[in-house]
Symmetry: C2
Subunit: 190 residues, 2 copies
């Protein structure tokens, strides 16, 4: 078991917390379980993250560096449009652990007094605006007769909902293929 | 606090467990919390449900009596088709507690060794077949050029995904309206 120092150790703890939450959900996770995974005492973890809530927020922020927004910033903005969303879904299909953690945490956040609720509420507002913007950039008319703002929550729902079905039954549900089918319904070929 | 007997008491316990799970998620729930809500001792609850897993399965089976399948059986089969799904989404919009419990449990079931995983895996396979059948019954051609089997996982994803966004932000996301928009994308007016 390696015991990196400072920033590295912080990073290692967040990564371990991410894995523990993906496996057990937020309420099933504990600072003790995270400590065990990185070979520290619980006190050692609490030196960096004094509470389970603070560790959760660090996990959510870190995950967002890899996800929708981070992914979009890493690309040439000229490639924006629906093809970009297809790439995102294909990227997600290569990292089931991350998708699992996201699915569990997002759903968990709707329960009473969950510390991540404001995070997800604000995040979905932001992502709806981002997807509406992508849809606007789509070349030609949106064929469905809906505005980009009307399409945005539907597009996000398809991405989230397919993730759940794919996580439960990866042999039955081909997530990238189904998303491609959905874009075809919108009249978009990628 | 009423203390009904036999079947009634069983019923009361399942209802209380349902509420506790909706509020805290499965892993945050306990037989003790359920017992407290119905005014029984934990031993009293365990007389009916010897384990938390058994109580969970009773909750899932009970909920399914109210949901997609139960809802469909209660209707005149001649009214089947996409309009039926719109009615279901409108019905769901009147019962956020039930939708919340479903959202949390379905997502939770993807975590390692969760007792409800086989239930949800089997349920989604069944619901995909049911929705494909509804889509087949839709009058006229499916305008999108996809088969009913290709559409089914997408339709279910939209329903599940909109539920999450609506639970997080009911003022921002009009779930029945967005589902109607989605059906319009499919070329279906309801």
């Amino acid at each position: 078991m390696t015991r990196p120092r400072g920033t590295d150790r912080r990073e290692t703890i967040v990564q371990a917390a991410f894995e523990v939450i993906a496996e057990r959900g937020y309420r099933g996770s504990s600072l003790g379980a995270v400590a065990e995974r990185v070979g520290l005492t619980q006190q050692g973890v609490m030196h960096y993250f004094p509470s389970k809530e603070q560790l959760l927020m660090a996990v959510l922020e870190r995950r967002d560096q890899w996800d929708l927004m981070g992914f979009s910033r890493s690309e040439d903005s000229s490639s924006l449009g629906a093809a970009h969303l297809q790439q995102l879904v294909e990227y997600n299909a290569t990292r089931p652990g991350s998708v699992q953690a996201y699915t569990v945490l997002a759903a968990d956040s709707v329960t009473e007094g969950h510390p991540a609720r404001p995070f997800f509420q604000e995040r979905y507002t932001r992502v709806r605006a981002w997807v509406a913007d992508l849809m606007e950039r789509q070349e030609g008319e949106l064929p469905s007769g809906l505005t980009a703002e009307q399409l945005a929550p539907i597009v996000i729902a398809v991405i989230d909902g397919l993730q759940l079905q794919w996580l439960l039954d990866p042999d039955e549900v081909d997530m990238p293929e189904s998303f491609r089918d959905f874009l075809a319904v919108l009249g978009i070929k990628v």
